[in-house]
Assembly symmetry: D2
Homo-oligomer: 339 residues x 4
């Protein structure tokens, strides 16, 4: 363990081509030791180029440079077959502004390049949100009427992941077994994300901060914002993780990312059945029955190139998971105590 904090910042003012837009395929920017705290920040998904309602994504944002990631960080000692635990100590909007938009042929209620149709695109429009960091509110204002609403601030990262397996390099717009653009609001401060390591050093990256989002992220764009983030990593050696998992104080969570959406559901719930069986000693069939009666199943996104479903099980139903009886030997509780 190390108490030294690694401070690292992306070069937001430099050539956008030099930022990181993939999981895998990029050289590490720095090295993190297990137990070490990382203090960094992430650009918003548009690289900060949208600042007013008069700007449109298709005019301002280069499609090659969407969703820049901070990283990748080489995690000392990480090897294929390990699990990387990433605990978010703090996730806070860097500025008092969030932006959102409709993007042509992107979103759940429009034709897309993969759900290809003959419709013209829906209208493109930008919304700017005031973030009230004192009151912890996100202020929505309609564009066509004077409707307004004050929504709870709930900062999170849409994207966190490692290098994929099989030598693949995947766009930061895509979620998968390596993590990536899962867009679940569960990736907030206080949560620990478990990612299976596929390559030496793991190559952790993160980005896509949201001041808040609805489940499903219907139009494809949340309240996007640059984010100041502090996290601490830990390694669980020799413990593979097939699909990203999340743990907070109240829940165990599994994720699945695929299409159709029922396959994302299947992955998340199969993983939860196996995980609950492992932690409680129940048989697989008993665990299947148990998960059927206790799971919460929020959709994470139905807009990225693959869709994500989260399965949540309250830890209080699982009996005594204290200390090393907890998931991955109790790493969440240990990292939580650092916060």
């Amino acid at each position: 363990m190390s108490d030294e904090v690694l401070r690292w910042a992306p070069d937001a003012d430099g050539d956008p081509a030099l930022l990181t837009y993939t999981f895998g395929g990029a050289a590490p920017v720095a090295t993190l030791r297990p137990g070490q705290v990382l203090s960094t920040w992430t650009l918003d998904c548009f690289g900060g180029r949208i600042t007013s309602v008069d700007q449109l994504v298709s005019e301002v944002a280069d499609p090659r440079y969407l969703n820049p990631q901070t990283g990748p960080f080489w995690v000392e000692g990480a090897a294929p077959g390990d699990t990387l635990a990433v605990h978010f100590l703090s996730v806070e909007p860097r500025y008092a502004r969030g932006v959102s938009s409709t993007v042509p042929f992107f979103g759940a209620l429009t034709a897309t390049p993969r759900t290809a149709m003959l419709h013209p695109a829906l209208p493109e429009r930008t919304w700017v949100y005031e973030l009230d960091l004192q009151e912890r509110l996100v202020r929505y204002a309609a564009r066509d009427t004077d409707f307004t609403a004050a929504l709870p601030l709930d900062p999170m990262h849409g994207t966190v992941g490692v290098a994929p397996p099989l030598g693949e390099v995947r766009s930061s717009l895509t979620p998968g077994s390596w993590g990536g653009n899962m867009d679940t609001p569960e990736m907030r401060a206080g949560a620990t994300c478990y990612l299976g390591v596929n390559v030496e050093g793991a190559l952790l990256s993160l980005g896509d901060g949201h001041a808040r989002q609805g489940e499903g992220e219907t139009c494809g764009v949340a309240v996007e914002t640059a984010m100041d983030t502090t996290l601490v990593v830990e390694l669980v050696k020799g413990a593979p993780t097939a699909w990203p998992r999340i743990e907070d104080d109240a829940h165990l969570m599994t994720t699945g990312s695929s299409r159709p959406l029922e396959d994302a559901f299947r992955i998340a719930h199969q993983q939860m059945v196996l995980w609950v069986a492992e932690l409680t000693g129940m048989s697989e069939l008993d665990s299947y029955q148990f998960v059927t009666q206790v799971a919460l199943t929020p959709v994470a996104n139905v807009v990225d190139t693959d869709y994500t479903v989260v399965c949540k099980v309250p830890k209080r139903f699982l009996g005594d998971l204290d200390g090393t009886r907890g998931a991955y030997g109790g790493v969440h509780a240990r990292l939580r105590s650092r916060g």
Copy 2:
């Protein structure tokens, strides 16, 4: 309005062939007037034939007689183009026992007749749950180990619906635009369900009581139980409803039932975008943006012949919806006051 209560009970001891297993296609059993309270009960989805862990569904339950419905009730004055509001005053397990099971080729994590494969069926097994109606608990006991868990009682109806459009008659195992087997835990006491009327008299039926279920109802069978239910109906004349909606004190909810699951998501969220626009006066595009940031999206079921997704929006974000400014002219608040 009428204060008279209609009491009606299914003939649980008679010929199971005489019970109701479809939406549409059955003669009404009684007439309900708008404003009238109905006090009734519903058999569990196995018609009460499973009472011990030694019984298997495939041996005890005739596949023609699964999921019997109480009804249909003819609603006086209901005509195509109206909306039927069904408010649940009370939903209480009739006995202190619930049952569940795995059923061959049924469930989310198994091959099924539609997701057809070459695997043999998963093992069939029955679980019996003690329902502690005082402590409001559902007691789970593993079959293969001594693991137990006490889960919150949360009684609900898996199935509520009316006769479908286009002259169709649909099995009570299926959800759709007429309601049916949506299997969402939101269908609990205190909720109002809005169903579009397709035929004269609407032909309301309900059943499939669950002492509780997880979202998604992963193995396809919740904690099944007979249910004592009191409800009150109201008619909203000339207000069509394309897909079932639910309102409780805190949320507006839309549902979609289809396959693949992303189409169920699309239906529910398109309907919510339209509903929020109508109630707030926002433009469709502003509503799309707003719903993107506020929707909760629990999966209801991924096991019936079509899958169901629920979209929930907190009413407190929508401004002043008091009195007749509320959904369907404020019918939920009025019916709620009857409880």
Copy 3:
């Protein structure tokens, strides 16, 4: 066997509400004996109401009265668990005109009520085709330019089916295990369709004649035409058929209808693996391997409420299927000899 021909005609000039629009739920119009020839005709899917390019479906056709079926016919002796063999002796356009159209929110390349989006409908338009019954051609003429094309006439029925199981009544717009609106061009003269019987009398109906269609029926509407049809039925007692199958002189064919489309594929190919194993004596695993290398897999439709895939296996690869060694005891060859 009977040599007597049953001649029956729908009342095309009467009240359209009196025609048949469902599988199940309609009283039989006549009785057919096994071995008996039926000579009849079917209205086109618009009930004959579109006769010029100036008419639009949404203006002329009542949505309750789309896709009228001829029938249902009570088949003497048919009982649940039997298979009804329907052999098409002749399928010929009744008039020298076919029509097609785009229909708002219907088709594979548009948002639909189930793939719900926020797009306005694609433009609605009607095309009229000249059918040259001598030259066996279908003459296409573009509406916006002078492009024309002469396509081979290939008459077929989009819809053929029996009453569904579980007491269901299904719209004639929908395909399923009972047959219905499968929209495969394989349902042409010379083919035998095998349908599992679900109710006494089977209740056979047919309709939706197409002068020709592409596979997938992309925009949802083929070259629609009234059809003069002669067929002969046979019963295979005690031989259930889970999903519709088709046999012609060259191929065995299975169908699956579901969503997503891969589930329709799975059904058709699982059924073919089982059928080939049964006919050849191969093990299921050997049959799986064999079907992998020989199957042809045309998509039938991706536009109806469920989608249909056909799996075809050339009979010449299956060894000696002569006489009673053939499928269903060689019924196709026997009925074919009637033609």
Copy 4:
């Protein structure tokens, strides 16, 4: 144009880790000039490691080294926005043996890592096929019975593609907009494949030879064989191609690869509607109608990580496409004349 032939061979006897298993992410092995003929060969998808029915894929084949590709070849002058035309002059099995197998959790009729379930894997088994290159036959022999069948030899490449866009590197097991593992039998000698260029030099690779396969490649493994292949490439400058297209003497073909399978259908058919409109001058709506009546729609694969559908339109229906009026300025006819 160049008459010089580039001869290049993979190092089949070296370290399998040094072969190419991705599209993108590998250094070019040689340079091809437009108009130049390439004479090469490709290993089978198991790298030649399966030679008898006693070998199982899971025991013999390293999952990191499946589906090795020959290439990538740098195509001189190729730049993003161009189209690379790859015309197959000759595709011939290199040996007289093909192999196939079932692979645990891989295939259309089994649970997979993405259609995740709780079933154990189907049995793993290997089949060896004799290829009779004189009689042009592929000889199937059942493992469990003495059933045999002689099937037509129809050699093809399951995999051909270029580097993907957005800096991605994709496994050779996956199909997509860059080509890759489409597994369509249309990729045979005499066909021209059109691939949109995403990076300088295009980086063409190919592999996965099949002596034949059924459409859909149901169990996931065709009659796999090393292949001697001769091809010629051409560049169409400034003509982007969104998804791979194929042309042979009789048909124009478009492909789409996605999940669910209906999205693969949608891509292929939207692309065909646009292509036919461009070549004939028809409006998009007229082309939509026309494609509806003429398209053939074979499924290519339902087994890889994404699924592929092909849309075929007979060229004879499209009017005069001779000379430069043909697709991409008539490049297929010109390359065909080299054969």
